[in-house]
Amino acid sequence: MKEPQIIVIGNGMVGYKFCEKLRSKTSSFNLIVFGEEPRRAYDRVHLSEYFNGKTADDLSLSTENWYQEQNITLFLNNPIVKIDRGLQKVYTASGLDYHYDILVFATGSGAFVPNIPGIEKEGVFVYRTIEDLDLISGYAKKAKTASVIGGGLLGLEAAKALIDLGIEKTSIIEFAPRLMPRQIDAAGSDMLKSKLADLGLQIHLNKNTTSIEGDGRITALKFSDDTALDVDMLVISAGIKPRDELAKACGIEVGPRGGIVVDQKMQTNDPAIFAIGECALYDGMIYGLIAPGYEMAEVLAANLCEGEKTFTGFDMSTKLKLIGIDVASFGDNFITEPDCRTIIFENKHKGVYKRINVSNDGQYLLGGILIGDATAYNLLLQTSNNRIVLPENPEELILGARGGSEPAGGAGITGLPDGALICSCEGVSKGDICAAVADGSCENIDDLKKCTKAGTGCGGCLPMVKDLMTYTLKSQGKYIKNVICEHFNYSRQELFDLIHIHELKSYDEVLDALGKNDGCEVCKPLVSSLLASLWNEMILKKGNDVAQDSNDRFLANIQKGGSYSVVPRVPGGEITPDKLIVIGEVAKKYNLYTKITGGQRIDMFGAHLNDLPVIWEELIAAGFESGHAYGKGLRTVKSCVGSTWCRFGLHDSVSFAIRIEERYRGIRAPHKFKSAVSGCIRECAEAQSKDFGIIATEKGWNLYVCGNGGSKPQHALLLATDLDSETCIKYIDRFLMFYIRTADPLTRTATWLNKMEGGIDYLRNVIINDSLGMAAQWENEIENLIASYKCEWKEAVENPAIRKRFSHFVNAPEDKDPTIEFVEMRGQKRTVEWKTV
């Protein structure tokens, strides 16, 4: 018998999810999908990441072969133009027709474009598809000012995209008196507005745009209050409009303001036709979020396989990060007194606003709004959704427990019922997650994602999923160990001690003695780092080069295209004119791009692998040594010019920075670490953003530890004050050895401290009061590392066996890689872009 045929119109996120859900349940049904866009379904929720370097491929939800593997016929660039319900046929733009037994509308929504005079002008865009984004980024190149109409969620995303595209002046025009009118209240909007203004975004509320001015192309906007605004381009993001035109044309019932009317089973008034996602109107409502769309896909897929599922509305709680600012709303966010009691916390200094609505009897959490800090979102949402009885002081939910210490991580999740929905994108409950961990099938987050799908949608629930996993493992009495990989059943700290005790000196020895099988790209660099931290031998000897990460293996940083960069050490950022000339000459001779780094040294890019030894030979002859820019170890000790020149300087920060950089150079650690010395409290060297930083005081040095810049900046914390130079160094010695011995792999000092029970107070006790009794041993160990320092590039160029490995072709050692290409930019070379689309 012939399989019944399902036709899906629309290949967006929900259409794709329906196919995935259906195929996970059954392989019967002929499944045919028609998409109007030229590409496979992609992640529209993270569309703005397209401007931050994500490619269309990165955003794609499936691989090229997926549809074929799932036995689904996919037509792209081929919209359906007509439906004949009598014949049960669809007609495509390309002129073909197909029979259906079941027809599914997953046509989604388009941008709602208000009817403003001049809307057709050049320079006016919508923000909906990858093609829209390409048009916007093309036009943005010649635009200096831009506006977004619509201060809702998508409008703010669009504004962020315009800022990312380098538009100097971006503004948001909102008709309503507040931003994100569906999610947040007036006070929240004020807070958000002031934070956005800090970022250079102009916000105009209560503005009704009456016309778009310009001769053919947009030049200005006019408003009903007789004001005007000059703009070079405009993005319309005033809401969505369900794509129901096709349904309407064939007589399917649609709502008065759009949307295909469906019942609890997603069925339309034609029993063979269904609608899911943003084109569907359920109970008078369009659900413009991804999680309810996925739920509709699940309901339909289940019912087609003779399941019994219904869609009964969906929680519209959301949490997102807008331009780095947390914004969240949950439950009944707008309910006000006298129907509830509100608790509000506002901190204008930090830009944080939190509101929770509590039932009048104080028993339950009804809803709330969070701006600036949404760390409590998951827990609050669960507390509200599951009607968990509130603690005596519900304000602690948004303020944290009083008395300085953080509430224990597991305290909140243990109280959740098993039915609590943790991942709303994939509909995974607490019970599902705990069961998957408890039956032994998942012991890490990757397994858990694979087997439950939790956290694979928007990812917002992942911290809670991890906490649940840890909590379940602990409650089973399992010792939670961070084992390195399948080849070593030890944590990094255990392996450190074992290698020390057994005096193992190479990766192969360690694998033979303590591991199993062949090793991998996770344990090899980790063990290599431990060997270096313990013995400080030349890292490429004893066959260890193949166990090094690629940067360490070639003592240089591999760059896009396959060339390498070269960074000689410039301690404290101090360099003589003669040495500067040498760098210039070497860079010229080997045609290298030069750039000053953030760490006060000079990076030379674009070196062929074959040239690295000769380049270093010349640098070493001029008195340079390796800068270890490629290694997980000390990078630079940045300094301000200090008391030798500066009229404010208290001490000679340059000399102290050089002393420190030369003391710790070459020491390998779990991650890179950086330092800086400032000569006075003006802090020009930015020491408080370093793994350890030193600031001169009238009486000596203040020592700060565990800061970092990067993607999650964290200020360093004050460890000790007014130290003399010797004591300062002694404390740094202890601090570094404590870190090297105990941190997890690839953990910076800031994260290491964040995980440490007792925090900075505990650390201070260990370092200053020697509460562990380890100080003498650590000082001794670090003295050994310092004494055994050698420039590894000097050793490499002098060792013929090592030097031989710096060639691209084994059978043509003189030939360089011919695929490396450069182009010219501002009088220097640069590498060509990735060769992928």
């Binding site: 691989t63 399948e486 080849h487 192969d508 099988n517 062949d518 090793g519 991998c520 790209e521 344990c523 090899k524 660099p525 066959g543 080069d545 193949v546 166990a547 990460d549 690629s550 293996r553 070639f554 591999i558 896009k560 295209g561 396959g562 490995r805 691209h808 072709f809 084994v810 059978n811 043509a812 030939d815 890689d817 011919p818 695929t819 490396i820 990735w834 060769k835 992928t836």
Partner: protein, 115 residues
Amino acid sequence: MNEQSNWLAACRVEDAIENGGVCVKHGEDQIALFYFTRRNEWYATQNECPHKKQMALSRGMIGSTTDEPKVACPFHKKTFSLSTGECLSGDECAIKTYPVKIENGTVYIGTTPKS
């Protein structure tokens, strides 16, 4: 294995890197050759990583997962099976693999891909 008519003399056994890779020039083409000493096995694959089209696999770390021999691209740590070429992390397409034989201390690569 398919019929091999063209065997490229790549290098001497002692020129190959133990438990690591070297890159072999084959006309305009580049082939990564791995001497998996720990398993006493030889493998050859295309040198280009399909993820970002970089000539880099020969500089990658090799290892195994369960018993599958693999190489990790130095750029973004995408891993590929050395025996089948299949991508083991994510959805990159598979890489070409080539047969290898050793005769009189010389390493030969069959230049018709296995798959």
